[in-house]
Symmetry: C2
Subunit: 309 residues, 2 copies
């Protein structure tokens, strides 16, 4: 949710013993029974805002709508258990559209063992709206929040960044398997998936954790799509700029103790590369370290959600 | 979801050990851990379809959006544990609108101990869309499904029916407390909340249970609003017609063994009236019994969801 609105809602809500993690993180954690917690996350995508049905196959739209929710579960190291799919369908061709959206989701349903458990189907005169809620399971002791990073922790990321607009924002693989492996085999103190931009989302971890961060610019893994985009544009933004500021990479930013991080980087236990791109520091703010070692303030860039009042 | 689409989706989904109750009932039941299940339900409401923002206070719209989900949890005798709220807000005045929607939900949050745990807030050029997912907890052995009614079971309902269009469809109280009491203290074999019309929703229990039902017409509890509506219309539909066919009563239809039902009716243990309005029978179809005892086929009436293809 938008940050100001989230703060306002949280200020209006009565305390509740079931609410372990509420609005403001990648997903909520709710106490189901004394010994089990459920993780829940939701995303709503609208035609003309998050995709253009005129230009994009419904199957890709459906896949993305489920994948962004699975990515939020990954940011909590939660095992997916099911999803609910609600749609507002345009009257013309609505049923066929719904089937194509679902067809796009089915490979993810199978790959991540995440059944579509229900939903709500509606017709109207407006554009397509698709709202998915994904549920997951985490052991009660596992809490991957945005707020757990400590000065000295390494900033570790999965995969590569930038240029998702060329296609990656539809076809990315949510890092569910990777986060589950890390949740079971490593100490991870904070985590977030990159939806709005590497530098902007990193600054949010810093804010939630009450610390700052230094990025080693030459360590940032740059996606081929970011190079391609910089080339297409012919100036203005470099591939590194795209890696730092483009949204919808859906890779993970992790805070890990330095030794733990060094071990992971050396072992590379996952099918995607793990890269240390810097470290968290006590001083607040975001900084870059260039090749000569000097620190410079770095302005977080990415997609800022705003509500017109 | 629309029935044909739900069937199609179910036919396309791989089997999944976590999916205890999937699409087609009031809510889904998913296995979270070996000893705990989570109940999940979702409803999407759109301006111009489910409400008219020009004519209705946003607080009432927000309240209803959460209440319909709590009613689905009640139909499963589930204890609410939390809700996720997603909105597509019109750009003009979106933040203020969001706050008023939430304000309308807060009394239900408190009354039913159901925290808003998160959500997704968006702006766009379209009308307001609000999609809520509610989560609940049920003991693993409790399964209030639509499919459990048996010939000879009594048809028991909470409250009164008809005329919700005069206001009840906004201001109804979801039968959460009543269903939890019944779940703990009575044997209930099937349940459903009335969203589309008493006779239509009863016919759906029959279909899911593979049986039929006889309604004693003179037993049907008629809401004052149904009388008022019949009076306003001056002919055409009687108050009983409204009770049988109007939607959005959000009362419960229950199937209970005959002796259990007789005991409940005699004791009236709830704050709302429990009424036996007939019984389930082996022969399929819906029938009415008039004052002279003769059976007549009764055409189910109510709100049929349709998708244009």
């Amino acid at each position: 949710m938008e940050r100001d609105l989230v703060r306002w809602i949280c200020s209006r809500l009565p305390a509740n013993r079931r609410l372990i993690v509420g609005a403001g993180d990648d997903a909520a954690i709710l106490r189901l029974t004394e010994s089990s917690n459920v993780v829940a996350t939701t995303d709503m995508l609208m035609d003309g805002v998050d995709f253009e049905l005129r230009g994009h196959e419904p199957e890709r739209v459906g896949r993305k709508a489920l994948a962004v929710n699975l990515s939020d579960l990954a940011a909590m190291a939660a095992t997916p258990i099911g999803a609910l799919v609600s749609v507002a369908l345009p009257r013309q061709g609505g049923e066929q559209l719904a089937k194509r959206l679902i067809e796009g989701m089915l490979p993810l349903v199978t790959d991540f063992d995440c059944p579509i458990a229900g939903g709500d189907t509606n017709s109207w005169d407006g554009p397509l709206v698709i709202s998915i809620t994904a549920l997951g399971e985490v052991p009660p002791e596992r809490r991957w929040l945005r707020s757990g990073a400590r000065p000295g922790d390494a900033i570790v990321v999965t995969g590569k960044f930038g240029g998702s607009i060329l296609g990656g924002h539809f076809d990315f693989t949510p890092r569910v398997r990777e986060s589950l492996w890390l949740g079971e085999n490593a100490e991870i103190r904070a985590a977030m998936d990159v939806s709005d931009g590497l530098s902007l989302d990193l600054s949010r971890i810093c804010e939630a954790s009450g610390c700052g961060a230094v990025i080693d610019l030459e360590k940032v893994p740059i996606a081929a799509a970011a190079e391609e985009l910089a080339r297409q544009e012919g100036g203005g933004f470099s591939a590194l700029d795209h890696a730092l500021g483009d949204g919808e990479d859906f890779e993970l930013i992790l805070a890990a103790p330095a030794e733990q991080a060094a071990d992971l980087i050396a072992r590379q236990p996952l099918n995607v590369p793990l890269t240390q791109i810097g470290q968290f520091i006590a001083e607040s703010g975001l900084f870059s370290r260039g090749e000569n070692g000097t620190l410079q303030p770095l302005k977080p860039r990415g997609y800022e959600h705003r509500l017109d009042s």
